[in-house]
């Protein structure tokens, strides 16, 4: 029974990771940039939802209406101003610039909000659903279901809409996309915006159960990288699969090994994946194009 509880907890936790990672992998798949500032985007979203609650009394789930459009715009601005000039630059420069952005955003938050751990007090957060001897956190179920809904929504968007197809086209063959009349720059910027908006949803939903503080992003971003590499950089299905796997791994290793060593487990998974199969479980390409003709 404990195992079942652990697996359920793991899947629910996986929902969190999926929501956070799905934006990261979309950005990589299209814009081909590893966004080291992704965690800070999450942190900003959480603070938006936090202040919406603290100052306006707005329920975090409702704050999505504010944070999603806001982060969408922020994402596009970041791409336009910082990433776009470096599109053709060697990858080390792109890494440095997003690392710099990450440092700047984190410390701006530190300066504005101080390092205090904030949390909101929602009765929702303590509610659990009890099924036999299993106890399931209500808030986590919401996250889990939302992650499935968001994944489905993203999937439909990519599959059915014109813009979605254009985004997939860019990820599959850049030059062919140009020849078909796709405006690459416009779509890169849009993708960055979408990726950031997805993270905003995550931020709002996890606020009831996590503390918000300036470096909360760094904690999650490393896990997001593990998920994304595990699933295959650029592959949204992979991010979903990876997220749930890591969630379960987190839950199981927390119990069977040691709670403080959980991170060790998934960094080791990370290194193993990078070394044995850098393209991940479902990935097609990594940073090197391999003849997608």
């Amino acid at each position: 029974m404990i195992l079942l509880q652990l697996i359920i907890n793991g899947l629910l936790l996986g929902g969190v990771y999926v929501l956070i990672s799905i934006g990261l992998t979309l950005i990589f798949g299209v814009v081909r940039v590893i966004n080291f500032a992704h965690g800070e985007l999450l942190m900003i979203s959480m603070y938006i939802s936090y202040f919406a609650y603290a100052m306006l009394g707005l329920h975090p789930y409702a704050s999505i209406l504010i944070s999603v459009p806001f982060m969408f715009i922020i994402g596009m601005v970041i791409d336009r101003i910082i990433i776009k000039p470096l599109r053709e630059a060697p990858s080390y420069m792109q890494i440095f610039v997003t690392v710099g952005l990450s440092i700047a955003l984190l410390n701006m938050a530190l300066f504005l909000f101080t390092g205090d751990y904030q949390s909101i007090n929602l009765p929702l957060a303590k509610k659990t659903i009890n099924a036999g001897s299993l106890s399931i956190s209500y808030a986590r179920v919401v996250i889990f279901l939302t992650s499935l809904a968001v994944s489905a929504g993203l999937f439909l968007f990519l599959k059915k809409t014109d813009i979605g197809k254009q985004i997939r086209a860019i990820a599959q063959d850049r030059m062919a996309a140009q020849l078909v009349g796709i405006n690459l720059n416009k779509l890169y910027t849009l993708s960055f915006g979408i990726g950031s908006a997805l993270v905003a949803i995550a931020g709002a939903l996890i606020l009831p159960i996590y503390y918000v503080f300036p470096s909360v992003g760094s904690y999650f971003v490393l896990t997001a990288f593990v998920v994304v590499v595990l699933g295959g950089l650029g592959n949204t299905m992979g991010a979903i699969l990876g997220g749930f796997i890591i969630g379960v791994a987190d839950s199981l290793s927390g119990y069977y090994i040691d709670p403080s060593l959980k991170e060790l487990v998934y960094f080791i998974i990370f290194l193993v994946v990078l070394l044995i199969r850098p393209s991940g479980l479902m990935g097609i390409v990594g940073a090197e194009e391999m003849g997608l003709k």
Binding site: K165, D173, A176, Q178, K293
Partner: protein
């Protein structure tokens, strides 16, 4: 009327000058061939016309308008469509999706369903495989899909880069027959081909490229008959 005009074009690929002082013209409504051995610069020329690589100096005029610095996606909007070497389909999308991606330009979007009908008419094999992933089609089918996708964009100028590459002779025959049909419907075609005879047989005008320059031009019949083409290819 000259649909496309290239004037004294210089194109660089990195530091290499791949096109030097090249001038040519594509007449409206005709089929023009570009032939020349490898490294002659044919693919680079098409890339420059499509706007994928920038032009170092010189001008590109389309329908009289200077498009030398117009971005690639806008040229597609104008009707300059390239079917690139190696097909370059979207391998993880099916036939339908590939075709739909052909109708991004505004006027093409408006005519999407009409164009789909037309295209399935010309290529019935594609209609049968609507839901098949492009990456799993045979070489010939892929080439047809690539051409079909190009047609979906309502091209004024259709440029093809080595459509016969890697295809069986029978399939090549089929494709060239279709190109003739397309031409008859009023679309101007610029054809880059390895198979010199087939290419010049199909076209009205020809240009022979060597080392980034035009070394021979004229009516295709004349070029075919001359000795120089063999010289250009086999250095005799």
């Amino acid at each position: 009327m000259k649909l496309l005009q290239l004037k004294n074009l210089h194109v660089r690929y990195g530091d290499i000058e791949v096109i030097r002082e090249l001038s040519l013209a594509v007449e409206n409504g005709k089929i023009t061939s570009l032939v020349g051995s490898n490294g002659a610069g044919k693919t680079s020329l098409l890339k420059a016309i499509s706007g994928i690589i920038p032009v170092h100096s010189g001008e590109i005029l389309f329908e009289g308008r200077n498009i030398t610095h117009v971005p690639a996606h806008e040229r597609v909007e104008m009707g300059i469509i390239q079917i690139p070497e190696g097909r370059r389909l979207f391998p993880y999308m099916n036939v339908m999706e590939n075709l739909e991606l052909g109708s991004i330009p505004r006027r093409a979007k408006a005519n999407r369903s009409k164009n789909l009908e037309k295209v399935f008419d010309i290529f019935p094999k594609l209609a049968e495989r609507k839901n098949q992933l492009a990456g799993t089609l045979s070489g010939g089918e892929q080439q047809m899909l690539a051409i079909a996708r190009g047609l979906m964009s309502n091209p004024s100028l259709l440029m093809l880069d080595e459509p016969s590459l890697g295809l069986a002779p029978l399939v090549v025959k089929e494709i060239f027959a279709i190109l003739l049909e397309i031409h008859k419907s009023g679309i101007t075609i610029l054809l880059v081909e390895q198979d010199v005879k087939k290419s010049l047989n199909l076209s009205d005008m020809g240009y022979v490229l060597e080392n980034g320059r035009v070394v021979m031009q004229g009516s295709s019949k004349d070029i075919l008959a001359s000795d120089s083409i063999r010289k250009a290819y086999l250095g005799m």
